[in-house]
């Protein structure tokens, strides 16, 4: 075996399962559609923007003897605009946030050619009143999204953007009436990374140079100043946010990690500084395992993805996926990672070299 196989041999012990795909172009955005699929978005060599819905390998999902190890391209399309984020809704539609103007676009499989994705609706989302004049400016575009469907089938999208000069702007968009049902402005405060619906009336976000956790009750009047709950000790440019029903986590672009109990936001119950290899905010990602709130996935400040166990102090790195690192290609960066929701220890990650990996680490 060659030296190239060293990593492969070592991987036999470390990974329960390992799948590595080499895509034509890097994945910039991905969203786990359901337990069986993933939406991926990237730009091709000819600068075309491609959106695909990939079906996870049947070897993983249904354990049949003849199950395949390949991703199936369930459907795809070359789309006419760049996007900032993807969110799947309940009926296999994806909502795309346009990166060129303040609009939302709904895409789904074409009924006539099921392997083609087609746009079925689009909607301009109103900006802040004093920013009306620059409605089409890129700076007005929606950069964060979350989705909530109530038991009574009400469907809402939580939209976040930063209007110049750094006014965080949060809106709740009613999918049925295609209108904004609630909004608030974080005056002179930047909105970071993700935002979440904690419940139908509660949203969680992270903002400002101190990475404040904000929990907003949407039953309050419009534009009410939200309750500021807790903040980092130092200032940083960017933060990643991750949230489960029990835990809220923030990670700064310098590696400062804070974990909060979702029932009490006053102060973090866990603070530490994670090791970093480089300083970058573009692909900073923090995720929490759906099976164990104390297991965190962390990427963007390191060439790989590190899984940390935070039950002890300092946190213990229990696994590092270094498959995206290539000898002689130091510039390969991880563009993001997600946890599979029903298979323990299974993650999907994407690298700047076009690599899309699915891996289940050994405990």
């Amino acid at each position: 075996m060659d030296d190239d196989d060293d990593w492969l041999i070592s991987s036999l012990e470390r990974y329960e399962q390992l799948f590595m795909y080499d895509l034509s172009t890097p994945v910039h955005l991905m969203y786990l559609a359901s337990d069986k699929g993933v939406w991926v978005y990237g730009q091709t060599l000819a600068n075309k923007r491609e959106l695909s819905l990939l079906t996870l390998p049947t070897k993983i999902t249904n354990k049949e003897i003849t199950g395949g190890r390949d991703f199936k391209i369930s459907a795809g399309a070359v789309i006419p605009f760049s996007i900032n984020c993807i969110q799947e809704m309940s009926n296999q539609q994806a909502v795309l946030c346009n990166a060129d103007k303040r609009s939302l676009h709904w895409w789904r499989e074409d009924e006539r050619s099921p392997d083609l994705l087609v746009e079925i609706a689009s909607s301009i989302v109103p900006p802040l009143p004093h920013h009306k004049e620059c409605e089409t400016a890129r700076s007005q575009c929606i950069t964060h999204i979350d989705y909530w469907k109530s038991e009574s089938n009400d469907q809402h999208l939580l939209l976040g953007s930063n209007s110049p000069p750094d006014d965080g702007h949060v809106q709740i968009y009613d999918v049925v009436s295609h209108s904004v049902s609630w909004e608030t402005v974080l005056d002179k405060t930047k909105l970071h990374d993700a935002l979440y619906f904690g419940s139908p009336h509660q949203i969680v976000l992270c903002s400002g140079n101190y990475g404040e956790i904000l929990v907003v009750d949407t039953r309050e009047p419009f534009s009410a100043t939200p309750t500021r709950c807790s903040m980092d000790a130092e200032t940083h440019d960017d933060y990643a946010l991750s949230c489960t029903s029990n835990i809220i986590g923030t990670l700064s672009d310098a590696g400062s990690l804070r974990l909060y109990d979702s029932r009490s936001y006053e102060k973090p119950f866990y603070c530490c500084t994670m090791p970093t290899t480089f300083h970058s905010s573009q692909y900073l990602t923090l995720t929490i395992s759906p099976y164990n709130d104390r297991l965190l996935g962390y990427s963007g400040l390191h060439p790989g993805i590190i899984i940390y166990d935070t039950t002890s102090m300092p946190p213990k790195a229990i696994f590092t996926h270094d498959g995206h690192e290539k000898e002689g290609a130091e510039s390969v960066k991880v563009h993001g990672h997600i946890w599979h929701q029903s298979i323990p220890r299974l993650l999907i990650s994407a690298g700047s070299d076009g690599g899309l990996h699915m891996w289940q680490y050994n405990e």
Binding site: M1, L18, S24, T44, A46, I65, T66, R69, I73, D115
Partner: protein, 612 residues
């Protein structure tokens, strides 16, 4: 304009029985002659009635048959086509394909006729007779089938000897890929083709809607499963075909055993090792670079850890790995071993390829737990693993090949139509070319634009290059920009389709004509009332500079005229007052400047008029 017509007789929107008929420039070429493994009736073979219904015999209609590789879905119907349907024309394939093809055909014939009792099947003699008609081709060798039809083979990876074919008839050309692989594996390299810009690329699309897991991860999965089984004292059976993936897996196991210092015995069916060695030694130039490089001091196919299997080992206790034929567990040693080992749950069966319905292999892969073998019911308790090592280009690979060959059109075969709209859209968007997916029997006509290649004289080329880049050509820079305009004479000699572009002098010298100069002249009469004589030359100079930018206007020696430097254009004042007369002359090569000046010169002089 003339058409290239393509009709798939098999593998149109389907995988199996590949057979694509292409008509261009009055020639009919058949690519592949495969068999469908999923059928036992006449649907197994391509529908040749499309040809016979024309009223012509097969060899009158078809100018040549080209086979891409030895897999049965590409060559399985060849003996039927030649020996039973009567085709007697030339058949082209590579040397390894010609060597291995009859081995697989005979193996399959034995299964169908001897084991399943099928009738109306070709015989062993027919296979031999068929193979005698084959003409072999080397990679990159231009083979002239006749005066107009030319074929050239390119490396396709996939299996030993697999080739893509570039076929040219006059100005029209087609590339047929057969099956190919754009990523190298442990024993073969990746497909490659030059930028041949065919009118049409006919490409397989087996994995067009797939993003393939890396080969390394497949190998990792194979090694992990196998090693785990051996560690728990189990036996591993790997049914394989005589040649192909078996060798690749053996190279993998051999190096893994070496690396991990493992001692578990690995066996290969007797006879197979020698046969494989023989072919791989014979065709070492078709393997990958690493094998070729090491071959001088060590043949990678001389395995240290893999030994010949003896039937007495079946009942031997302890862990072991056995590679045995046939690959579908329908007969022979692999079935015999399976029968013995199937009831022990410690053991493992690894199926590295496809199994035809009706075979034991297919039943096992379908999850059947009790199978009757030789009138004995066998409980399937061993672990069954399916690991596909088939090497086809996926969506990315297809796009890579299009990028390499730069075709003007793409036609997809050997895939599912229902799932290929996205790939079609992608090809169209990314390369701006049309993409077709005909079903079996459906004809696609592709219009081509005839192109005539012209040999340009070096003198003319140098001049054109100098004019286009504005400097004498260097040794390095020797291509004309697409926008360059070349002024010369097209010469076609002796009705031969060979056209040359020459300078006027070269042509007149060649045909012995005396050169004549054609001179044009025009007199412009200006209105002298508005033109004081002292200013006429100055006004004319300004006007010429406006009309012909970058022109250099000089006064003639006599002082009554102007000339444009570097051209034959001259202006002379024949009379000053009362109506100044300007004589404008130029030669043929400067006709465009002369015309501009005649048409526009007087307009640029304020209130001047042309009187005559």
């Amino acid at each position: 304009m003339s058409d290239i017509r393509i009709v798939p007789l098999g593998a149109g929107q389907d995988v199996g029985r590949s057979c694509i008929l292409v008509s261009m420039g009055g020639k009919n070429i058949m690519f592949d002659c495969g068999m469908h493994m999923g059928y036992n009736d006449e649907r197994r073979f391509p529908d040749f009635t499309y040809i016979t219904d024309t009223g012509q015999t097969l060899h009158d209609y078809i100018n040549c048959v080209i086979l891409s590789h030895f897999h049965l879905d590409h060559c399985g119907a060849l003996p039927y086509f030649t020996e039973m349907c009567g085709y007697n024309g030339p058949i082209y394939m590579t040397h390894p394909t010609k060597a291995i093809c009859p081995v697989l055909l005979e193996d399959f014939r034995r299964v169908c006729v001897d084991k399943k009792g099928e009738q109306n099947f070709f015989t062993s003699q027919m296979i031999k007779d068929c193979m005698r008609k084959v003409i072999t081709v080397n990679l990159h060798q231009c083979v002239k089938v006749d005066d107009q039809l030319e074929i050239k083979a390119y490396y396709a990876g996939h299996v030993l000897g697999a080739a893509m074919f570039h076929v040219r008839v006059g100005h029209q050309s087609v590339v047929y890929t057969g099956d190919y692989n754009m990523t190298p594996d442990r024993h073969l390299g990746s497909a490659w083709i030059d930028r041949c810009r065919p009118d049409l690329l006919i490409t397989e699309s087996t994995y067009a809607t797939t993003i393939r897991d890396s080969k390394r991860c497949r190998e990792r999965d194979f090694l992990k499963k196998l090693h785990e089984c051996l560690e728990r004292d189990g036996k591993v059976l790997i049914p394989v075909f005589a040649l192909g993936r078996a060798q690749e897996l053996c190279i993998l196991l051999e190096s893994y055993w070496e690396r991990m210092n493992l001692k578990y015995p690995i066996y290969f069916s007797t006879g197979l090792t020698e046969k494989a060695n023989h072919y791989y030694k014979l065709f070492i130039s078709w393997t990958n670079q690493k094998i070729k490089n090491t071959f001088i001091h060590r043949n990678m196919f001389d395995f240290k850890h893999i030994k010949a299997f003896d039937r007495s080992y079946i009942d031997q206790p302890g862990p072991m790995i056995v590679f045995a034929t046939p690959g579908m567990l329908h007969a022979g040693l692999s079935l015999q071993i399976f029968k013995k080992w199937a009831e022990d749950e410690k053991n493992m069966l690894i199926m590295p390829g496809y199994c035809v319905p009706g075979t034991i292999g297919h039943k096992v892969l379908s999850g059947t737990k009790k199978i009757e073998i030789d009138k004995k019911l066998v409980n399937i308790r061993l672990s069954v693993q399916y690991m596909s090592f088939s090497a086809h280009a996926d969506a990315k690979g297809i796009m890579q090949l299009i990028q390499l060959a730069e075709p003007k059109n793409v036609l997809l075969v050997h895939g599912e139509a229902a799932k290929m709209e996205f790939l079609r859209q992608k090809i169209n968007e990314e390369f701006g070319i049309h993409c077709y997916m005909p079903a079996n029997g459906e004809t696609v006509a592709i219009a081509t634009t005839p192109s005539i290649s012209v040999n340009m004289s070096s003198l003319l080329f140098k001049r054109a290059l100098e004019e286009s880049i504005g400097a004498p050509p260097s040794k390095r820079l020797c291509s004309l920009p697409n926008s360059a305009v070349v002024d010369g004479l097209l010469v076609m000699k002796n009705e031969v389709i060979e056209v040359s572009l020459l300078t006027h002098k070269e042509v007149s010298d060649e045909i012995g004509l005396t050169r004549h100069k054609l001179k044009f002249s025009q007199t412009l009469t200006l209105d002298g009332h508005f033109l004081p004589d002292s200013n006429i030359l100055e006004l004319l100079t300004t006007s010429i500079n406006k009309l012909v930018p970058d022109s250099k206007v000089l006064q003639t020696k006599e002082g009554y005229g102007l000339e444009l430097s570097g051209t034959s254009v001259t202006l002379s004042i024949a009379q000053f007052l009362p109506q100044p007369l300007v004589n404008l002359t130029w030669e043929l090569q400067d006709d465009h400047i002369g015309s501009i000046l005649v048409m526009n010169l007087v307009r640029t002089i304020p209130r001047a008029l042309i009187m005559t």
